[in-house]
């Protein structure tokens, strides 16, 4: 992968706001009366490794397909590498590598021939460097030995690796991996993590979806949790995992003053039963108390709410099984 990029889009001009590799606003997709994705506002900062976490059927793949311009949103907008889709697709997609909905290849061709075919359609790959790019990608995912074998005979893990190789044919600014460790053995999983780590180190942005929290925890800097087609939490992984309690239930009779004070202090809070609910994202419990007490708000009681990512995700998955929507409070709390 040396001379393959004849020219690359420069990173968006350095502004004060964090540069986003992908940004969606009010994304919604319906199939008939089924709402697959609703009100998804996703911010994927450049250089981040974002894990998209959600149980099966939570809208991860649909969101990814809309991000890549494969599916047209029913409502909402997508910006990919600073370009609005679908018009900007031709400019941004060459810089995006993707493995969506499992690897797709021709069974009658060998792994190498399959990649050559993919490479032939890559805009950023010069014709002369296709051969080398294919070999490099195969090497990188550990398929060099099996490259001459027909795809038909590949194991699930090998197919997955080839899909990853296709995404790595060109140095990318953004790599989107939908459940990349599906069907991989522990060694393969480690290799994928290593590839993601390398991409991150090289400055690429990575969006990786998974239904396994452990997977996300191991590789990601950012996380977005999807549930029933909506993003219920997103932010830096460290922040979301920081403690097992990210919200504080403050019981007070002076709700209005408390809300004003907290909002003035840029602490997110909203009214709840008998008081306010304070998000402990970017702040601490003592800071909240101090702000409230200084303003003369009477605090009757303060209780930490257990809404850590793990807790949240566990409840989401449990709710999926028991079909109870008792988690709504928890979901809201994590916002």
């Amino acid at each position: 992968m040396t001379t393959s990029t004849s020219a690359r889009v420069e990173s968006a001009s350095a502004g004060s706001a964090p540069v986003l590799a992908a940004r969606t606003r009010g994304l919604r997709k319906t199939y008939g009366s089924t709402v697959a994705v609703d009100r998804v506002d996703l911010d994927l900062p450049e250089g981040a490794v974002m894990g998209m976490l959600g149980p099966n059927g939570s809208g991860k793949t649909t969101t990814i397909r809309m991000l890549l311009g494969l599916v047209k949103p029913t409502e909402g907008t997508v910006e990919l590498l600073g370009r609005a889709l679908p018009d900007g697709a031709a400019d941004s997609l060459p810089h995006v590598g993707a493995l969506v909905e499992g690897p797709g290849f021709h069974p009658f061709l060998s792994g190498r021939e399959n990649l050559r075919r993919n490479a032939a359609f890559e805009p950023l790959l010069a014709t002369g460097s296709i051969k080398q790019a294919v070999e490099d990608a195969l090497e990188r995912v550990g398929l060099a030995q099996a490259a001459h074998r027909r795809y038909r005979g590949y194991s699930l893990g090998m197919k997955q690796r080839l899909g990853l190789a296709a995404a790595l044919l060109v140095p990318r600014r953004l790599i989107v991996l939908d459940e990349p460790t599906n069907g991989l053995d522990p060694a393969g999983t480690r290799e994928v993590r290593k590839v993601i780590g390398d991409l991150h180190a090289a400055g690429s942005t990575v969006l990786v979806s998974s239904h396994l929290l452990s997977e996300i925890e191991a590789t990601c800097t950012h996380v977005a949790v999807l549930h029933r087609g909506t993003v219920v939490a997103q932010g830096e992984l460290a922040e979301l995992l920081q403690s097992d309690s990210t919200a504080l239930q403050v019981t007070t009779s002076d709700v209005d003053t408390a809300l004003n004070v907290l909002r003035a202090a840029r602490i997110s809070a909203r009214p709840s039963e008998e008081g306010v609910r304070v998000e402990l994202i970017g702040t601490t419990a003592p800071a909240v108390f101090q702000a409230l007490v200084q303003a003369g708000v009477e605090i009757h009681e303060a209780v930490r709410q257990r809404t850590g990512l793990e807790e949240l995700f566990a409840r989401l998955t449990e709710a999926e099984e028991s079909e109870h929507l008792s988690t709504v409070d928890t979901i809201e709390g994590a916002r």
């Binding site: 032939a120 359609f121 805009p123």
Partner: protein, 278 residues
């Protein structure tokens, strides 16, 4: 912020890759092989028929085959046009979009990205070249078989005149072009169906069913008003290439009708592909 970025891979590279992909498919090779067998079988069958009766045998073109080997490629092409060649075109059309969608490779092309109209162009090109190749191959094998079995003393037309070898080869070339164009028309419609489904089999079944239905409709005299619109009915008129002098009206009509099918098929395919979820 953008510095002259290539947003599309070179077209020639895409077309080459497409042809390579079609040719690497085992069913393509087998299909082309079987198409080569058709003129040989037809030639051998006619040879026995001519030999046994010591004279002209069979109807139409077959009646003039004795000592007239260059008729065989034309005869074979007309023999294959009603079913075999449309089937071959439909298979390529089916694999082109429905097959790629089915194997999950279509979305790979879409995110490369290959623009959707460009993608249709690449697919249409592949099918067009392969159809031309298939018909030419068939004609070539037919010519060789015909000359080997029946000799080559120019070409006796159905009008009774004899064309010199050069003119005869010209007629064969013209037939290749006319027949190929008809296959393109069928394949364009098949491509439109292909853009609507993920199941290649549906494309082939629908195309073949359409052709059979059209042929049946063309057989009812009460539906005569429908004839000018049926592509299958126009195929009979192509036999005019074997007349001397050659009446061109029928040939033009059937070619113009095929052009309509081609344009409609490609348009529908484009409309569907642009809005399709990948």
């Amino acid at each position: 912020m953008t510095t002259a970025v290539a947003t599309r891979a070179p077209l020639a590279r895409q077309l080459r890759s497409e042809l390579r992909w079609i040719l690497r498919r085992p069913r393509t090779v087998i299909g082309l092989g079987l198409l080569c067998v058709v003129p040989i079988l037809a030639g051998v069958g006619l040879w026995f028929a001519v030999d046994n009766t010591q004279g002209p045998a069979g109807p139409g073109l077959a009646a003039i085959i004795a000592g007239n080997g260059l008729v065989l490629p034309i005869f074979t092409m007309f023999l294959s046009l009603p079913l075999l060649l449309p089937l071959v075109g439909a298979i390529w059309a089916a694999d082109g979009l429905a097959g790629e969608a089915n194997s999950g490779t279509l979305r790979g092309l879409m995110v490369a990205p290959v623009g959707r109209i460009r993608l249709l162009g690449v697919k249409a090109f592949g099918i067009a070249v392969m159809s031309l190749f298939a018909v030419t191959l068939m004609a070539l094998v037919g010519a060789i078989t015909g000359v080997a079995l029946f000799g080559m003393d120019g070409m006796l037309t159905v009008s009774g005149t004899t064309l010199p070898v050069g003119a005869a080869l010209g007629r064969i070339a013209l037939t290749i072009v006319l027949v190929t164009f008809q296959v393109w028309a069928v394949a364009a419609v098949a491509l439109a169906i292909s853009a609507c489904t993920e199941h290649p089999l549906v494309v082939m079944a629908a195309t073949m069913a359409g052709i059979i239905v059209f042929a049946v409709l063309g057989a009812f005299s009460s539906l005569d008003w429908l004839q000018p619109y049926l592509i299958t009915s126009a195929w009979d008129g192509l036999a005019d290439v074997m007349r001397d002098p050659m009446p061109v009206d029928g040939l033009w009509n059937s070619t113009a009708l095929a052009a309509c099918y081609l344009v409609i098929g490609l348009s529908l395919a484009a409309i569907r592909l642009v809005t399709k979820d990948g």
